[in-house]
Structure formats: C-alpha cells, structure tokens
C-alpha cells in the first residue's frame, strides 16, 4: 500500500483585502497551514505529498511564500517523501513568469503535461506507481481524458483540478464541466486526487472511495466556514483506505443573530461580543425586526477587538418594522423622512431599494447619534 497525504486549494499568497489590517496575518496563517500539512506528512510517514491544484493563489507568488514552500518541499524530500503538484486555475501555466517555470520550488514533481501524455512512473518500496495528471482547460474535452489507466501493473493515481458536476464556483477563471463517480470509475485509476472544490467531498465505487476533494485546508472566505481537512490515504491496487484529518488553524464561522430582543445597541454589543475568540473569523448576520435602527458600523467597532476578524451584515427588516410604522405617524422630521423614504422605495427599481433602505438607516442612526433605544 502506498501512503499519501492529499491536499489542494491552499491558495497561498492569496489577496484577502476584505480582512483589512488582518490581511497580512491571515496570509501568514495560510503558510502556517501549509507547514502543518508538511509536518503531518512527515509524522505519518507518507510516500507522496499530493497537491491537486491551486497551491498558490497567483501564478507569481511573493518570494516569502515561495521560499516557505520550497523549504517545506525540501524537508519532505530529505525524508524521501515526493511532493507531486498539478497546476490549478489560480497558479496555472498560462503566464511566462509562472512560479512553476522558474524551478524554485525545490524537489517537486510537477505534472504539467496535457493531452495523452504517458503517466509518470516511480517506484516506491519496489512497487511501481503511475501518476497521471496535468493542467486541464475547459473546452478541451473531458478533464478525465488524459487519466485513462495504462495496462502496466502497479498502483495508478491521478491528480486533477476540477469540480463536481453542476458546480459553477464564482470568481474562478474557468468553468468546469464537472466530474462524476461513473466517469472516475471508467478511468480505472486506483485513486483520483481532486482539487478545486473548497469543501471536503468524496466519490465512491460502492463503499470504496475512488476520488476525493479534500477542500481548502484553511478557509479563505466565509463561503468556506467550518472545519477544514486533508486526506490521509493508503492506496493499493484496487484498494483505498482514507482518513479525514482536521487541519485548519483558525476557524471561520457564520452566525445569524436575531435582534428582536435588543433594547439598545449595548444589548447587541453584549450578545455579539460574547461570541468572541481571538482565533475566530466571524461573520455575524443580523436578522429579524429591530426595535430601533441598528448601526452595524458602531456595533462592529465595539466588538471587533474580541475577534481575529469580525464582519457584521445587517439583514434586519427595519423598513417594515412597527418601530418605523410608529415613526411614520409622527409629526417630526424623522416622520417626514420615513414617509418620504417609503414613497421613494415604492417607486424605486428593485435593485435600488437596498440602497434606499441603507440610506434611511444611515440618517436615522445619525439623528439618534447612536443613543436611540427601543421603546
């Protein structure tokens, strides 16, 4: 049996501008995540360290990231572990200065052939192992086409950066056609190491796992909230044993917080602040019908230091709240304001309505100077 650690979508050196002042620290987190994977591979005495695409988030990562990765690969190499990498959609081979052209990653096997290339052949403890894979571009036929098993005796492992059927991840530079268990089975490989999907998922042949997306080892954005994994796999001819290992350092979480019981912003600060943890990246979505206009910026400012990173989204229904109904009845400026806003809202195109609601909240919050409380 061949032991391998399978990871993908590390997106090292990613730009994370939404994290503001925490961006640099988070980028270092990603590198620490890579080093944790290297340590895990060494500790588990694997034979292969597979990266199924998007090792980097850019074709030209910064030197620091490259040096840390090269050092990691060197450590693996010194212990006889072979790192095997396929390019992904972020670090693909499209540009002349792509890092994989520059040979600065130390002892790494880059599966960079496309089309009908012969598999790479290696011997591990006297056993022949065949590695299939390479960059795949949409429109060039099935991504599984170059992964047809050869007739040779041995263990046959594929690496591919492509998503599952029906998935259309946003923000990526290619659209995938999707991979199904049936297609993987037809390839005849013993194991297919996949990347591109950022959550853990497997494809099976009966009870046997034949392919896996380990997901990103550190959540990059809030669409990747929750625990993150890599796959520790033992592969023999027609046999796969897999262990899912938790690898993320910091946690990304999303929480919905109902604001109905808040009588003032201090209640909100107490409730959101109580969720705080210095290793937590949290997106709080405020929901429900508020008793007063909530200022998410002030709420964020008062709670942010309890978290590694905090994001506050206001999805409360202030516009249709009884509190606003009461205001609309008043002979006050804010009464006139609410009446005016509701008239404009009624006649505004759907896409402009959120802006109007946000503008109304902005004025009300400023008029109350943050001192308003729910009656």
């Amino acid at each position: 049996m061949i032991r391998l650690l399978h990871t993908a979508d590390l997106h090292l050196d990613a730009a994370l501008p939404e994290l503001g002042p925490r961006e640099e620290e988070r980028r270092k987190d990603l590198l620490l995540g890579f080093e944790r994977l290297v340590n895990l591979a060494i500790k588990n005495e694997v034979d292969l360290f597979l990266v199924a695409g998007d090792l980097f988030d850019s074709p030209r990562p910064l030197d620091e990231a490259v040096a840390r990765v090269a050092e990691g690969f060197r450590r693996l190499g010194d212990r006889g572990i072979l790192p095997v990498v396929v390019p992904g959609c972020r670090d693909g081979l499209g540009l002349p200065d792509v890092i994989f052209h520059r040979g600065r990653l130390g002892p790494v096997m880059l599966l960079a052939r496309s089309g009908e290339a012969e598999p790479a052949r290696i011997r591990i403890r006297g056993e022949e192992v065949f590695l299939y894979g390479g960059p795949w571009k949409p429109g060039g036929g099935s991504p599984l086409a170059p992964l047809k098993r050869s007739q040779s005796e041995g263990v046959h492992i594929g690496l591919l950066h492509a998503g599952g059927r029906g998935e259309q991840p946003t923000g990526d530079r290619w659209q995938d056609d999707g991979i199904t268990a049936e297609e993987v089975r037809a390839c005849g490989l013993d194991y297919l190491a996949l990347g591109h999907r950022h959550d853990f998922a497997t494809l099976g042949d009966g009870e046997r796992v034949i392919a896996c997306w380990p997901g990103s080892p550190e959540g990059l954005r809030f669409s990747e909230a929750g625990p993150r994994f890599c796959a520790l796999v033992e592969v023999g001819a027609g046999e796969v044993r897999m262990e899912k290992i938790l690898v993320n350092g910091r946690a990304l979480e999303k929480r919905k917080v109902a604001v109905e019981d808040w009588e003032n912003l201090s209640d909100g600060v107490a409730e959101v602040g109580a969720l705080g943890s210095e290793d937590l990246l949290l997106r709080v979505t405020l929901t429900g019908v508020p008793g007063f206009p909530i200022d998410p910026v002030r709420l964020h400012a008062e709670c942010a230091e309890e978290f590694f990173h905090l994001e506050v989204l206001d999805e409360t229904d202030l516009f249709g709240s009884p509190a606003l109904d009461a205001m609309a009845e008043e002979e006050t400026l804010r009464g006139a304001l609410v009446r005016r806003a509701r008239i404009l809202h009624e006649g505004a195109p759907l896409e402009d309505r959120p802006l109007l609601r946000e503008a109304l909240r902005e004025v009300l919050v400023r008029l109350a100077a943050g001192g308003e409380t729910a009656p």
Binding site: A15, P17, D97, P107, M109, L110, A326, V363, A368, A369
Partner: protein
C-alpha cells in the same frame, strides 16, 4: 393622557409605594434624598424600559422588582406594568365603563421564535404622539436647574434636534456631516477625495504594470527559445520520473535548476554539460558502430574449397572415361581434364584472396573504432570528474534535468502530445530545432532569470491593486449611500419645513402672547428654525436680544408648542424635577406663574424640596404628594380636581 398614578415595588429606595396625581398642578414634596428624582426615573423606566434594570432594584432585595403607572385620557385608561426582573411589559386598556380593550404584552407569551417583535412603540405613539424616549425626556421632563436646558444660542439647533424626532442631534448637523463625508469621499465626477486619491494610485499601479508587459513578453519568447533549443539537443527528461522510495533523499535527477546558483556558474556548467553530453553520445555511437562491425566480421562468409575439388574430380572422371572408350584419344582427354581442373582452382584462389582483403579492412576499421572508443571513454571519465568537482550530476538524467528545467511552453503554445512521462522537467515545444548549443541554452536561461527579476515585483503590484480595488468598491458603495442619505434628508427637511414652520410659529406666538400678557404675540421662524420676536419697536429681533423673563417664557412656550405639534394636541404630563431651585425669587415666581399657565392645558407634576412651595401649593389649590411623613403638611383640604371643563373656561 395624564399620569393618574404610579406604583413601585422594590424600585430604588421604595420597597413599595403608590402615588396618585390629578389634573393641573401637582406638587411632590420631600427633602433631599427622599426619592423625588427616583420617581421621575420610575416613570421613564416604566414607559421606555431601563438600560440597567439591576440598577433600579432596591439594594439587598432578591425578589421581583416592578413598576406600574396609570395613564388616563379621553375615553380610556391605560395601565402599564413592567417587571424589570423578567423583562416583561403588560399594557391593559379599559374604556370609561372599565371594559377591557385589547391588551398588549411583550414579549408575547405565545410569540413564536422568529416572529416580528412586539414593540410598544406604536402604543406609545398612540398614547403620547411620539415614541422616542429621548424626545420624551427633552419635552416632558424639565431637569434640575433650568427651564430651558440645552437650548443654547438662539435655540435653533436644539429645536431642529427636537423636531428631528430623537431629540439627539441637530438635523442640520447631520446634513453637514453627510455633505462633508460625501466631499471627503470625492464628489461624483470630481478627481478629489479619497476615491480620487485611490484612483490616482491605481493609475500609478497600472503604469507600473504596463511597464512590465514588455519584459513579460520577452520572457515568454526566451522561454520558448530555450524550450526549443533544449528539445533540439535531445534532452529527454523521461528518466527523471523514476524515484526510489526509501533510498534516502531524492535523486539529484529530480532537482530542478536552482536559480540561486551564481550566474557565472551557469555558462561554465552549461559548457561542461554540453561536452559531456556530446562525448557520451559519441561514445554510444562508436559502441554501436563497433558492435555492428563485429557482427559483420562474424557474419562474413569464407571461400568454399569443395566447389573446385568437385569440379576437378568430375573433370578427371570424364577424361578417364573418354580414354577408355577411345584409346587413341586418352592423352588428349586427360590433358583437357587437367586444364579445366586447374582453371577451377584458379578461380577459387582469386576469390579467396579478395575475401581476405575485405576481412583485413574490416579488422583494421574495428581496431580504429576501438582506439576511438577508448579515447572517448577516457575523455568522458575526465568530464565526469570535472562535473563531480562542480557538484553536478553525472548521469544522463541529471544532465537532462539540468538542461531542461525552464522549458514549459508559455501561454497559447501547445505542449508535446507525447511526452516522456511528465515530470519535474516539463513538456517541450514541437517546433523545428533552432541553431545553437548548450552555451546558447545557458545564455537563454541566464536571460530568463534576468527577466524574471525584472518582473519580480508584479505580484506586489497585483496585491496592492486588489486591495485598492476592493477599497474602491467599498468607497463607491459608501458614496452612493451617503449621497442618497443626504438627498433623502434634504428633501424631508424641506418638506417638513414647508408643511410645519408657519403653523409652528403661529402656535408659538399664541402661547408666548398668553404668557407675556400680549407683549409678544408674534414669532418668526427663519429657514433654519432660528427664533425671532417682534419687539416694542415693531422690528424683528433674535431671542437673545430680549430679557431673561421673556426668554424663559419663550422656552416654555416653545416647549408647549412642541408638545402640541409632536403630541398632536394631546394633553400630556410634564415632570418638573427641582428646575426652579437655582432661580432667584423673582424668576421663580415668574416661572411658577408660567407653569400654572401650562397646567391649564397639561398636567404638571412639580418635584421640590422647598418649604415655601408648600404654602403656595396650599394657597393655589395644587394637588400635593408628600414623600416624608415628618414633613408638615398644611391641613387645608385641597379643592376638588379640576375637570376638562376648567380648561375650556380658562381658554374662554
């Protein structure tokens, strides 16, 4: 709505207590620390809740603490109960016949999770005309020390703040702040502000980026040339894929070119590598040729002796046979047979000689090949020794890896469809081999590294660009929100001013005229709501130009006008918490006179510790509540409570 009663249970210093109030003037009298201000707070906390419920519990008390009040209006009575411990609120309404109308309870006992929150705001709006606790405090509570707290210069900002509905911030101030933020962000179409500065920087980054395009293109060309050259040199990296697990560190064959090597080492290493490769190839060729020659020698056919021997025998037999038949010819026949046999042997000898010559030639060539091979082998050993001294691999695969590292085809170029196994040395182009050798390849590699260094800061430019573009999106969104907010507030302010200003000024004039005995019945409000009174000279003057007494009257009139406007004509209750204590005797008398006038329209509850007020209260027939039993209370029986009809009479 007037405040009919207040009942407290373990609220502040009161373990329990129930206080009744009447229409018109009420005096709540008690010494300092008797709890007068606590009663004012209790009214506010019951209506609007408390931000610190624990803070209003009687010290040391562990049981429930609550407060309730009864509001009485035309046709209905409302009882509001608040349990601060459980955070519950109960509102019961009854009509004049004590029939219960729809109750209100929050939180709703049957409310489902996620259902809209039951809020008391609409109920308070119905009862008071507005629901803001801040507005309630500003209009209906006169704090300690002044009749016109926080109105400030001209009163306009405070007035605008009160008219805003919160009583917190002046609406003009909000409008100015929105305008300032809009300009700070950068007005639409302008080049300034944060957005302008950010776009300037993005422009700079774009220029920097453009400056990298040429080196990037050249890099693509250089890499393609290098790939083609490497391919023309026959460097097949296929064997580099073989890796023996457990054999220690990875074979050097798997190590790509290390660009950290000194640049000067590259051409030298490239020359050695090239010669080594050529020598190795020559050796292989010589070996192949020698092997082929040896095979030819082995396969070379000899000249057969059997053929002339058989011919000789045949000729002799034929000659002997002819001699026996024709005895006269036996000598001629024997001579002929001998001649023919000699010819056959002559041919045989000629052919044998020729073959021997060929063999000799082949042996000579084989000898030369052997000498050449030995010389080539010696040269290769010498080169290997030199490569070892350079720390470079000496295997064919190592040389391939060294020479073939940087040759992945750039964008748009196809890769070899039939590679040698896909490995650390990536695929090669399929174009025809160009001229050049290992030295040229080394130069290309060197140039490639130089170009890579030139474009090395592209990633930093990209990262900064991504950060700035994200920020730009945020700022653009923020600018849209601020612009919309500014427009909305501006429109609402104009609309509110147009519909309310004249009406408000007229009402204010009526109140002020009554309070000043007709001296100032006319009030003018400017566009910014600043207050002007017509003086005795018939000219308009700002409020600050008038006497303190007139100003006090104006503030009270303003408050009443606001109550009229915001309370939509409702009768409400004013809580006056020792506001007269710091006034001199004359001003206090004037203030009391004004409050008595207010009490003709609204309920006034005056909280005070002054003994002198007791006499005035008794004399004027105010309703009195005494917080300390030891305080002497005048024995005069208070007059019966004024009814709403009294108000009508007063107005007449």
């Amino acid at each position: 709505m007037i405040l009919r009663s207040l009942e407290l249970g373990h609220f502040g210093p009161f373990p329990s207590g129930n206080w009744e109030f009447r229409r018109g003037m009420n005096l709540v009298h008690g010494p300092n620390e008797a709890g007068k201000s606590t009663l004012v707070s209790a009214v506010l906390a019951t209506l609007f809740g408390s931000s610190d419920p624990e803070g209003v519990r009687t010290w040391g008390w562990e049981g429930p603490w609550r407060a309730s009040l009864v509001l009485e209006g035309e046709g209905e009575t409302v009882r509001l109960e608040r349990d601060f411990g459980e955070g519950r609120l109960l509102l019961r309404r009854t009509d004049d016949l004590y029939r219960e109308l729809s109750p209100f309870e929050a939180p709703s006992p049957e409310g489902e999770e996620g259902a809209p929150r039951e809020t008391i705001a609409p109920e308070l709006s119905r009862l008071l005309g507005f629901s803001s606790p801040d507005l309630f405090r500003a209009l209906l509570v006169l704090g300690q020390g002044s009749l016109s707290p926080r109105f400030g210069e001209g009163g306009a900002p405070r007035l605008r703040a009160l008219l805003g509905g919160y009583g917190g911030v002046d609406s003009e101030e909000v409008l100015s702040a929105l305008e300032a933020e809009y300009l700070d962000l950068g007005a639409k179409g302008s080049q300034g502000g944060q957005i302008g500065a950010l776009r300037d920087r993005l422009g700079e980054l774009e220029e920097l980026w453009q400056g990298k395009i040429e080196p990037l293109k050249e890099l693509g060309e250089v890499r393609r040339e290098a790939a083609e050259l490497a391919a023309s040199l026959g460097m097949d990296p296929g064997s580099a894929t073989v890796h023996e697990r457990g054999a220690g560190p990875l074979s050097p064959a798997l190590r790509p070119l290390d660009p950290t090597q000194p640049a000067s080492a590259v051409p030298e290493a490239g020359g050695l590598v090239g010669e080594a490769r050529r020598t190795r190839e020559r050796l292989l060729r010589l070996q192949r040729e020698a092997a082929a020659l040896r095979q030819d020698l082995i396969d070379h056919p000899g000249t057969p002796v059997l053929f002339p021997a058989v011919l000789t025998a045949v000729f002799l037999v034929l000659g002997a046979g002819l001699g026996l038949i024709r005895s006269d010819l036996w000598l001629g026949a024997l001579g002929g047979a001998g001649f023919l046999s000699a010819f056959a042997w002559g041919v045989h000898l000629f052919l044998s000689g020729t073959k021997r010559g060929e063999l000799r030639g082949m042996k000579e060539r084989l000898g030369r090949l052997e000498i050449d091979r030995e010389q080539t082998l010696a040269r290769l050993e010498s080169l290997d020794e030199q490569l070892r001294e350079e720390g470079l691999p000496i295997s064919a695969a190592g040389l391939d890896a060294l020479a073939g590292a940087p040759d992945v085809p750039p964008r748009g170029e196809g890769t070899s469809p039939k590679g040698g196994g896909g490995a650390c040395a990536p695929g090669r182009g399929t174009l025809s081999p160009p001229a050049g050798g290992p030295l040229a390849l080394s130069r290309l590699l060197e140039r490639s590294e130089g170009l890579c260094a030139e474009v090395a800061d592209l990633r930093r430019i990209e990262l900064e660009g991504e950060r700035l573009r994200a920020l730009e999106q945020q700022l653009l969104r923020r600018r849209r929100v601020v612009a919309t907010a500014r427009e909305l507030l501006s429109q609402a302010t104009a609309e509110f001013g147009a519909s309310h200003q004249d009406r408000f000024a007229a009402g204010l004039g009526r109140h002020l005229g009554r309070m000043t005995s007709g001296r100032h019945p006319e009030v003018r409000l400017d566009g910014d709501w600043s207050l002007h009174l017509r003086g005795s000279d018939r000219q308009w003057h700002p409020l600050e130009a008038f006497s303190r007494g007139t100003r006090d009257a104006a503030w009270i009139a303003l408050r009443l006008s606001l109550i009229d406007l915001l309370g939509k004509g409702r009768t409400l209750f004013l809580l006056v918490d020792d506001s007269l204590a710091s006034l001199d005797q004359a001003r206090r008398d004037e203030a009391l006179r004004l409050l008595e006038q207010v009490a003709a329209r609204h309920q006034v509850i005056l909280f005070s510790h002054e003994e002198s007020l007791l006499k005035r209260a008794a004399r004027s027939g105010w309703h009195m509540v005494v917080l300390n039993d030891q305080t002497p209370v005048p024995t005069r029986k208070p007059p019966p409570e004024r009814s709403d009809n009294d108000r009508q009479l007063h107005l007449l």
